[in-house]
């Protein structure tokens, strides 16, 4: 079932260029997209400037370490502070358990940071359509290499 428009997006990443790049992509779908860039989860959770703000999507690009527990806690804390929203994990780290817990943990998209811009567009299309998305790099690692690649 199609989701409502994604207008307000929170990007958590150390690099401001990541937020700007994502803005370029998301704006090609919806010109009214507004991106709020925050360096890390601690700032996002404590920043007074974000009080009262609501987001439709959070992109978590910050490297939180390999245990998916850290990431799942981050997702829960973000949802707690900002209310329900879609979550896209944009990470260079493969974690098979994250793929397995996507549905239960509220993660809507899991995109490898080295994916081409076209793949990020696809991810955003899926988010807009209310469908989950896993990028090909992660899908290959999970389905084709399976246990061999599991850390």
């Amino acid at each position: 079932m199609p989701s409502p428009l994604i207008n307000n997006i929170l990007v958590l990443d150390d690099m401001p260029t990541i937020a700007l790049g994502l803005q370029g992509i998301f704006c090609s779908f919806n010109e009214t997209v507004h991106i709020e860039h925050i360096e890390n989860i601690f700032t996002a959770l404590s920043s007074k400037s974000l009080d009262e703000k609501k987001f439709d999507l959070a992109v978590i690009g910050e490297q939180l370490g390999s245990p998916s527990d850290d990431l799942l806690r981050t997702v829960a804390e973000l949802q707690h502070r900002f209310g329900p929203m879609k979550i896209m994990v944009y990470s260079p780290n493969y974690d098979h358990s994250l793929l397995e817990k996507m549905e239960t943990s509220g993660i809507d998209a899991y995109v490898h940071k080295y994916e081409a811009v076209a793949e990020i567009r696809k991810a955003f299309s899926c988010l807009l359509a209310g469908e989950p998305y896993i990028s090909p790099i992660y899908r290959t690692l999970y389905y084709e290499y399976g246990l061999m690649m599991r850390k």
């Binding site: 260029t17 990541i18 370029g24 360096e39």
Partner: protein, 157 residues
Amino acid sequence: MPSATNQKPTSLDKILVIDDLPLIPLAFQEVFRGINQSAVVEYSENIFSALSARAYASATFDLIITGSLQDNYSEHLQQAVTELKKKFGSPLIMVYSSAYDPVIIEKMAATGIDAYVHKYESIEEIRKAYVRLGKGSPYVSEIFHTLYYEYGQGVRK
């Protein structure tokens, strides 16, 4: 310590971004187009593909931004910069890195590196770097500048 390279002001229209992350060139294009409508950004994942790509066989660039070189100063870094300059018509070189190495700052002029910008710098800092390079001056971004001048060589990374 960085020293002026005494280059002439130049229009930085043709830019090659070498980085693992495909979003980076998109962001740079957005930044540079805001300053120079003629800026065109090309993209390569790494230095090997940049040097060997048929698409760039006879290409020249005004500026190469590389985020996928080695983090620290080394002969490999020197060699990579030399090869990029040789192949692509002596472009300016910006190292865009999240790792700090004071030796890169000290050897910028000798190595042929024109700008050293930290990956966590704001978009405004990237604008400054582009403008400064266009005027023919070298540039060290604020984070690296602070680490070098305020904390000295004790902080290597």
